[in-house]
């Protein structure tokens, strides 16, 4: 599928990656292996999947605000997502984590069916002009 939708910029930048979509919130501190980028929380629907180099689309993050440092750590270990999209609300953990890790972050709150259908497609976030494009 292809398509372009507008989004709200939180952290600027341009990035490309395979879309990884979930409707479950993510706890960056406790649910992801910071060395591999693999989701280790067995109750999460992305359990066992790596978020490395993806466009990670999720509702919002939960848990301690220290999770912001975990996002930084994923980037340092070269296993961070290329970009992130929040579909319900942008929490300060994700916002500040992406800011220090230099990961483009946008919010798209009214298109979750379209985004779910883009699972595994290649997507490009251009946060600076507020556009998300599915190739």
């Amino acid at each position: 599928m292809t398509g372009t939708i507008s989004c709200r910029k939180i952290v600027g930048g341009v990035c490309t990656g395979r879309v990884l979509f979930t409707r479950s919130p993510i706890n960056f501190l406790s649910a992801i292996d910071q060395n591999t980028g693999i989701i280790t929380d067995s109750s999460h629907d992305l359990h066992g999947i790596s978020i490395s180099d993806t466009i990670l689309i999720f509702p919002y993050s939960v848990g301690s605000t220290v999770g912001a440092y975990s996002i930084f750590s994923l980037r340092r270990n070269l296993v961070a997502p290329s970009g992130m999209i929040c579909t319900v609300k942008v929490d300060i953990t994700t916002a500040s984590g992406c800011a220090i890790a230099g990961i483009p972050l946008v919010s798209i709150t009214n298109q979750s069916d379209f985004l779910e259908n883009s699972q595994n497609s290649y997507g490009t976030i251009n946060a600076d002009i507020g556009v998300f494009r599915i190739e």
Binding site: I10, Q34, A68, F72, V90, I92, T93, C98, S107
Partner: protein
């Protein structure tokens, strides 16, 4: 979010990378919370000092920031670290090394080494309505609710960015209209001790999705000891950053026997403990005075760890309270607190007795130690012989 020309230049790195990083953090949070602009703050209180909270990732971030010569630009205090370096303890040397690396980074940035989660009890407070940036949740809630200061419930990173820039996004509790309660808690069980207030706070944090909540008459004239317990628990279980006693026409939730029992079932995980831990938040002069009045030459029948700021320790030493507690067998620990302490491990202890709902949450979840909750007066009655 609007940025002034000067703020734009700082964001773009014209004044160095630490300021640029700090503005990037504030801009991202400002965008996320739909802030209109940045406003000045006069005091920042930073969390994320204990190695057990920020780990290697946080430590590396602080090291990088420090190597690029980051400095705080406003009065900045910091939360407790993991241990008291003036005392001998069984803390592994590797933990100490990693902890001190974090402390060194903060000190090089020019922070005041307070190592306390109750800055409002040890520093002179600014005038009411002054804008501050407090990351420790009990401190942010106390500042807003008891002292008339203005803060959001900041994160470790946002408070650090505010410390460096002297600014914070103008959103949420910084905006007057958000400082009115959106949820009123109808309390239908007796709430008397600090532990009762802790349970009430924990339930409310879990149940109310609001920046400010009201406890009606229960919050009117509340004393410091109960307010600390309420604030710490409220901040532990949710995103609420302020409480009041105003009874406005808003959404209502009930805290009755069923709700109180469910919280007790969740947090009170044993009926016995082999060590007493007091101080989450750290104890101030109020609580130490209260303890002193009940000691009367008796001794603790179980080991008793008492966490307080070093500044309070010095004050209470002069007035004779500290020697009295030590004679009773109390072990006073400064610069650290019960939360995420490496001093309490499952290998050494099966159960911990405490009056703190916040401590209970962290001891159960992170230290994997069971907790027996009792109010301070009951602890003093039951374990002093």
């Amino acid at each position: 979010m609007y940025l002034s020309r000067q703020e734009e230049r700082a964001l773009n790195g014209e004044f160095g990378s630490p300021l640029s990083t700090a503005y990037k953090i504030l801009l991202a949070i400002g965008q996320a919370t739909e802030a209109e602009k940045l406003v000045p703050v006069t005091w920042s209180h930073i969390s994320g000092v204990n190695y057990n909270t920020i780990g290697d990732a946080g430590s590396e971030f602080l090291s990088d920031l420090n190597e690029s010569n980051a400095k705080v630009s406003v009065f900045t205090t910091v939360n407790p670290m993991g241990y008291d370096k003036s005392k001998k303890s069984k803390i592994p040397s590797e933990f100490k090394r990693r902890q001190l690396k974090i402390v060194d980074s903060y000190i090089s940035m020019g922070i005041t080494p307070s190592f306390s989660c109750i800055p409002y009890e040890i520093f002179k407070l600014p005038r009411r309505n002054t804008s501050v940036s407090f990351a420790e949740s009990n401190a942010a809630i106390m500042a807003n609710s008891m002292y008339g200061l203005v803060s959001n419930k900041e994160s470790a990173l946002s408070a650090l960015a505010s410390a460096i820039t002297g600014k914070a996004p103008y959103s949420d509790l910084r905006v007057r209209e958000f400082r009115y309660p959106k949820v009123l808690v109808k309390v239908e069980v007796p709430v008397k001790t600090e532990l009762d207030f802790g349970m009430l706070g924990y339930y409310t944090g879990k149940s109310a999705n609001a920046s400010c909540v009201s406890f009606g008459s229960h919050a009117k004239g509340i004393d410091i000891m109960r307010a600390k317990s309420l604030s710490a628990a409220l901040g532990t279980s949710g995103s609420c950053g302020m409480f009041s006693s105003e009874e406005l026409n808003c959404e209502k939730i009930t805290f009755g026997k069923k709700e109180a029992d469910s919280i007790k079932d969740e947090l009170n995980t044993t009926e016995k403990g082999d060590v007493i831990a007091l101080g989450s938040p750290q104890l101030g002069l109020n609580e130490l005075n209260f303890m002193s009045q009940h000691l009367e030459g008796k001794k603790f029948s179980k080991p008793c760890m008492i966490f307080c700021p070093r500044a309070v320790y010095h004050q209470a030493s002069k007035s004779g309270i500290i020697p009295q507690i030590k004679r009773a067998g109390g072990d006073i620990i400064c610069d650290a607190c019960t939360c995420l302490t490496p001093l309490i491990t499952k290998d050494e202890y099966d159960g911990v007795i405490t009056n703190s709902v916040k401590a209970s949450y962290y001891l159960n979840k992170f230290n994997n130690v069971s907790v027996c909750l009792k109010d301070l007066k009951t602890i003093m009655n039951d374990y002093l012989k």
